[in-house]
Amino acid sequence: MEREDALDALVERAIARDHEAFGALYDLYFERIFRYVLLKVGEPAEAEDLAATVFLNAWRGIGHFVSRGPGSFGAWLFRLAHNALVDRYRHLREAAPLDEVDERDLPNDARDDPASVLDWRLTVEELRAALATLTEEQREVVLLRFVGELSAREVGEHMGKQEGTVRGLQFRAIDALRRALVQSSGARENRAQSNPLWTGAAQGKARRTHDRA
């Protein structure tokens, strides 16, 4: 609660055109916004431009921000990010790189051993490829909830859904993503026998043991 109060105070000061407060909000949110945008566009330089645009627009429009409770500022920033992306696609006259897919396109085969824990070391490219196999809704939940680190309530506010709906959706989204990553890893392993970016539980355990040693 203290953190939320502090955040509200920062937002209030920023609304009053306090540069320092806005800088603090920038520090709090920039990386999350950047990573969200990066996973949408794929190019760090472009993501940097878009994230900068988000914060410039936030500064220009912060006088119109109306708090709807804890975390609503974060949700508002992500809405600006979404708007900037929509605007960018409109300008480029190109389809979003993450095309919508039908549910039936989702990979079905889960891993043989569901209980094993993978050492998830993902690159932006790998994750983007896996995200492209998710539905639009699942993808947005993954990006907002886990990459953008918004709460389920904030994600719901952003997507126009109930918090409970998001809590169910996030499970199905992470599960679909997990299957997609496993499948793509399997395909790569078939081709290359080994994958330095994708290691199984045994390899992860061995590495941890080695690190401890």
Binding site: E48, L118, R167, I174, L181
Partner: protein
């Protein structure tokens, strides 16, 4: 929600609140969901993807953002709201400039009201001389006949056109006046705002590189002007800024090369900028400003080294390409070394690794054998 969905959601909440570790959460579940640990691990890993890029970007962009805010981005744009899409900032040409966007215009208005464009909404044709304003309480039937109305409409349109011309002219004037503004000038904020917008709206890497070079060139001109005024500290700060801009161009070019994208335009612009830097150093040396000349020389040396380390092949640049500096061209023959401890023979005073080959061309040929 199913039981697994519920357990997963509850665990995420506990982890976010710091009440439980992942292992504790999985243990609490008691094996009801064998894949819970893996799902949680993946969720956690997602929060780290792109972190390295994000951290670097945050530091880089923060300086620019705060500089833009401090320099005049105080105006609030009433057009921004929570509508479904917010239009991106308009593309602003660096030179000549278009009318500044609202925040910068607002800044200019407060600093220099005479130059602030008049909003269209305050111009009402009915207020023009000769326009008959209906008396209160009259109806449309009280309006003048058609000929008079046409004449009035014609006058109103002429007046509106005049206002448009005036606004465009004033906006262009503000932009042009801002182009030569120096730190502390009322319009300097407008200038920095235009740069910021141009950079943030540069869609392609090539355009971004060109804008960065243009910005670096602004800083160089400003640094020289400040040095002329005797403001050495400001000149040093501006030189440091230009060095950062050039380093970004070098990094960008290297990235583009890695992606097998054409870098010809950007690298050529970079070489020209380094040539201007060289000439500025010569100019300052001739003026007897050894300290600033040394700063420029050191900056040039560092940038040349960085360019070489990035394996950029800089073309030779004709001396006439500069817009400022010593038109007589340089007189140093320098060779670049990867170590950065160059051995330029020029009288620049710095440890310049790049030099001018005597014909006014920037010579960045590496030492044989490197």
């Amino acid at each position: 929600m199913t039981e697994r969905e519920d357990i997963f959601a509850a665990c995420l909440d506990e982890l976010a609140a710091g009440r439980l570790t992942m292992e504790q959460c999985v243990a609490r579940d008691g094996g009801a969901d064998p894949a819970l640990a893996d799902r949680l691990a993946l969720a956690r890993a997602l929060g780290r993807v792109g972190s390295a890029e994000a951290g670097a970007a945050r530091t880089r962009m923060r300086t620019r953002l705060m500089a833009a805010l401090a320099d005049g981005a105080n105006g609030e744009d009433p057009r921004i709201d929570e509508s479904p899409t917010i239009p991106a900032a308009p593309a602003i040409r660096m030179i000549p400039t278009a009318a500044p966007p609202a925040p910068w215009a607002a800044s200019a208005a407060s600093a220099w009201p005479a130059l602030a464009p008049t909003p269209f909404t305050t111009i009402a044709p009915a207020g023009l001389p000769g326009v008959v304003t209906p008396m209160p309480g009259t109806t449309a039937r009280a309006m003048p006949h058609h000929a008079t109305r046409r004449r009035l409409v014609g006058r109103a349109l002429s007046a509106a056109a005049a206002v448009v011309v005036l606004c465009v002219g004033l906006g262009w004037g503000v932009g042009n006046a801002a182009a030569s503004a120096l730190p502390g000038d009322p319009l300097y904020g407008v200038k920095r705002g235009q740069e910021w917008l141009a950079l943030t709206t540069a869609i392609t890497d090539q355009r971004r590189g060109e804008v960065l070079i243009a910005i670096a060139d602004h800083r160089l001109a400003e640094a020289q002007a400040e040095a002329d005024r005797g403001n050495d500290a400001t000149a040093q700060d501006l030189t440091a800024e230009l060095a950062t801009d050039i380093q970004q161009v070098i990094a960008l070019s290297a990235t583009m090369t890695d992606r097998h994208e054409g870098t010809g335009t950007v690298v050529a612009a970079l070489a020209q900028e380094l040539g201007r830097l060289q000439r500025a150093q010569d100019h300052e040396t001739q003026r007897g400003n050894a300290a600033f000349a040394q700063t420029l020389g050191t900056t040039l040396a560092n940038e040349m080294t960085a360019a070489q380390n990035a394996h950029l092949h800089l073309p030779k640049v004709p001396a006439s390409g500069g817009t400022h500096g010593n038109p007589a061209g340089g007189h140093a023959k320098g060779t670049a070394t990867p170590s950065g401890n160059g051995h330029g023979k020029g009288k620049g005073g710095g440890n310049g690794t790049g030099g001018n080959n005597g014909n006014g061309d920037l010579d960045v040929t590496p030492t044989p054998g490197e």
